[in-house]
Amino acid sequence: MPDCSRVASLLELYVDEALPQDEMAAVKKHVRRCRRCHKELTELTALRKHLRETVETGAADVPLSRIWEGVAERLDSPTIWERIVWAGKSIVFPFRPLKVLAGVAALVVLFLFIVPLVKSPPTPRVVVESVESEHPIMIFQGEGEIMVVWLFEKGEGKEGKE
């Protein structure tokens, strides 16, 4: 006669009816007499039943017909017309969200940083457009961002270095 600990280790196989006949009989006999093992067997059986019901209910809610339609569609070989349409779509709409995002990011970088550098050479910060003066003048570019307009008043020589 097996003891309780041995029976407990065999209960799962017992429920699955996966034990040899002699062991099945021994466990059955023990469970009838032992209240603790009987209770354990009852709980195990109830748990198994509950799990089975849950899985079956969940599976029943899945729209298998729709899944099957998709599978069947993929299994069916496309017609020539379908292939042409798909090819057209892939040409017209070749983009995927990630590719689109990467492309947009690249364009932003291009427009914001590279194009302004390429499209126009740096312009001076000071541009003298026109000058009207009663006095003779001289215009010259200083270092950095400086432009100089020098007025020569009557009888004056230029004092600058240029």
């Binding site: 947009v104 307009v149 007025l151 004056e156």
Partner: protein, 148 residues
């Protein structure tokens, strides 16, 4: 949906490329009146930022800051600064576009224009107008765009 997304992205890019809306934008114009002479060898500490330029451009030994004035101008507005020798400096903001200010700068002698120039100044750029005599030296007007 994809087309809308693309149009949105393109619009955003175009918007980013556009210069900022400048309607009614105020532009800061700084004016410094400097007396350059051979009297002494002092350079006003307030001219530190252009001290090197002054030294390279002119051979005066002394640079004194006589006046410093800032104008906050909108398009079409003028600022006037009285100068020594019955002269006046008149600055008018003709337009501001993309960070560049177009200015009409005029020097008046007893109310009569003796010098007029039109310049385009970007932020950080400086126009020096020198030559009018004053005391033992000459006046140098440093006109800088301080941005909007």
């Amino acid at each position: 949906m994809k087309r809308l997304f693309f149009l949105g992205c393109l619009s955003m890019l175009l918007f980013l490329q556009c210069p900022p809306f400048a309607l009614g934008a105020e532009v800061g114009i700084g004016v410094r009146v400097i007396l350059a002479s051979h009297q002494g060898e002092t350079i006003d500490t307030r001219l530190q930022d252009i001290q090197a330029n002054l030294g390279n451009l002119f051979n005066y030994s002394s640079y004194q800051l006589l006046q410093e004035r800032s104008f906050l101008l909108t398009q079409g507005q003028s600022g006037q600064l009285p100068l020594a020798g019955n002269k006046d400096l008149l600055i008018k903001l003709l337009q501001e576009q993309g960070g560049t200010s177009e200015l009409a700068v005029e020097i008046l002698q007893s109310g009569k224009g003796i010098f007029k120039t039109t310049v385009k100044l970007k932020k950080g750029g400086t126009l020096l107008i020198g030559g009018p005599k004053h005391e033992e030296g000459v006046l140098i007007l440093a006109i800088s765009a301080q941005g909007s």
